[in-house]
């Protein structure tokens, strides 16, 4: 997977990381609009802020005059953030008009993005939307009244479809519609859903079903696959004449009363890690832990003691 970014994308990225004049890196203090998208666990996050020139009487006519971003993300995420700010500052946008800027505008500004990086442009559009909602709240503008659909609850209320990136059914369905997505790959490229463990691709109610629901084809009716019988349960058998509990107790007793005192003479100790069948797993502690002769000690002292006092079949394994 080599890089196939457009010239524009790499130029914007290199300008941003070198702090060239005219770039939009930063955060506006007491911003009029503040929006975030993404998180550190997902691998990219954008904090977007803008300042407006306030209209004396009608806040709906505020003009965005400055836009800034801080981005944690890859080359194209940073370039997309630059593009977003540039589009806004170069245009003459009121916050409400700015809602018309789509991720496609960002892609176009960058002279295209690789398919797998489309989600970087979506992140920009989402952060912008969040920032405009934030502005509306601060300025007392009722966006719903203006016919803007504010579905801020869909993330909390919907059924979780992609658990890796925490995306819900209503959100994914809306995005399928808005971005005219046709395939699972489209969804993953744009909003990352289904891009990690991939288990939501073809499950009932998964991405393919959502695509079919939105795009109107027949939902797949998958038969539940038969669950294959799992491996046989372990059948460890302690010596027939003793219960596993009693056997373990007995091993402990012998080690406490006979082995430990002898090891203590050399400032050493022993710990039982596990017992399976007649196999006793031990680890040497203290001075014995680094002793080159520990393997011999285990065989000559520990194993022999257990054999003599409990059962000839016992085998001691050093861990």
């Amino acid at each position: 997977m080599t890089w196939n970014y457009s010239k524009k994308t790499t130029e914007l990225f290199m300008a941003a990381v070198s702090g060239a004049p005219g770039t939009h890196l930063g955060e506006i203090e007491d911003a009029d609009g503040f929006g975030e998208h993404g998180s550190i666990s997902c691998g990219d996050a954008l904090r977007f802020t803008f300042r407006v020139e306030r209209h004396p009487t009608d806040p709906r006519l505020d003009k965005i005059i400055e836009a800034r971003y801080l981005t944690f993300g890859c080359t194209s995420a940073i370039a997309a953030s630059e593009a977003l700010c540039a589009i806004i500052e170069e245009g003459d946008f009121t916050p409400i008009n700015a809602l018309e800027i789509t991720n496609q505008d960002i892609v176009n500004y960058l002279d295209g993005l690789p398919q797998a990086k489309i989600h970087c442009s979506v992140m920009g559009a989402e952060a912008l939307e969040a920032a405009v909602f934030n502005w509306a709240q601060k300025r007392g503008v009722d966006l719903a009244d203006l016919g803007v659909d504010i579905r801020h609850d869909e993330q909390e209320e919907g059924r979780l479809v992609c658990t890796c990136f925490g995306l819900t059914e209503p959100y994914i369905m809306r995005k399928i519609e808005e971005l005219e997505m046709k395939t699972i790959a489209d969804i993953t490229n744009a909003i990352k859903a289904g891009g990690a463990c991939m288990s939501c691709h073809h499950t009932p109610g998964g991405l393919q079903d959502l695509l079919d629901k939105v795009n109107g084809s027949r939902p797949t009716t998958m038969k539940q696959l038969p669950v294959l019988p799992m491996a046989r349960a372990p059948k460890a058998q302690p010596p027939a004449e003793m219960s596993p509990f009693k056997f373990a107790k007995k091993v402990e007793e012998v080690i406490d009363s006979y082995v430990r005192p002898q090891l203590a003479n050399d400032a050493g100790d022993i710990e039982i890690v596990d017992i399976k069948d007649t196999k006793v797993y031990c680890t040497m502690k203290g001075a014995c832990a680094n002793c080159v002769g520990s393997q011999n000690t285990i065989k000559m002292l520990v194993e022999q003691a257990l054999k003599d006092q409990i059962d000839q079949r016992i085998q001691v394994i050093e861990v």
Partner: protein, 409 residues
Amino acid sequence: MTIIYMDNNATTRVAPEVFEALRPFLTDDYFNPSSLYEPAHGPAEAITAARRTVAKLLGKARPDEILFTSCATESNNTAVFGTIAANKERSHIVTTGVEHPAIFSVGEDLQRRGLDVDFVPVDLDGNIDKMEFVRALRPDTLLVSVMHANNETGVIYPVEELSRITKETDPSIVFHTDATQTVGKLPIDLRDSFKNVDLLSFSGHKLHAPKGVGALYIRRGTRCRPFLLGGHQEDGRRAGTENVAFIVGLAKALELAMARHDEDEARILAMRDRLERELVARIPYLEVNGRNAPRLSNTLNVACHFIEGEGILYQLSAQGICASSGSACTSGSLEPSHVLRAMHIPFSAIHGSVRFSLSRYNTDAEVDTVIEVFPGIVDSLRRLSPYWDVKKNEPRPEAMEMLTQTEMP
């Protein structure tokens, strides 16, 4: 622009000596080694000699225990699926959470097919939890597969000890190790320290042979069905016309690695340690992944908190430096490295992880260049990061808790 290649755990440059050794089999000696006429003798003999060389260099293994394959992934798939096919009465497999995808994904796939697979966890440094390993072994355990050293972090696993514990528990459990990163680098003696290892995989292109050739050691008496069917080659254990030239190249590369080992190893280790020391000293909030575990001398995996690896690689590449990252944006999927996640490395660091892996062809001057440019790259991206306080040059107060966040919120 001159290239500084520090991605040798991904692949390596073909050694000139190797290229010279294999060249005749791409030109004049092109005959199929299975053919009977006189000219085909050369290629057939070359394979026999290569097999003898590889066997000898892995600790006097027998030539008939070496199977040539197309890559380590094929070797791993053959080992796992071949063992399962030959032993129908058992169905439990033990492996680790940090294996290369050629084992890890196979394990996940086997789970879907109804087999029982346990992934033994590792600690914060990437060391395997030995107690958990012991507990995972069961009476119906068929196969244990533990890599010799990890490709991302370079952490070395105690294969000698784990194979002994396995065989002492039950000699009929098959023990496999993926030694792709260690053959030619670490001592491997299949008659001594690795006497409890039944199957061992590796490939040529990690040790200066070409891509497209690998090998699988199958200890005599180990039950393992062929994975590729359709021919009598390799004693019927791997069908397909032998890649004569590359097999010759693999043997030559291994010979070279062994002959130059002590000299190469000392030089590479010194370069790696200097790179590590200098980067740690120059960059705040930089961690060395696996720092407290035994590690391969050529590998350095650093995590730069609060920036994304792809932007680092891009800027390194702009200066001609080739490295790799475990971040989501560089993985081909959208998921960050499963190895670093298994080590409970926080997300703030996984996405900013960068791996430098050296070889005998790296120089001190190249290390100097990386030491010089890397801190500036980290700095340039942190200035853009919403989690970073540029003035204090440390994470913002609200981001501090992310330094330990290892689970999705």
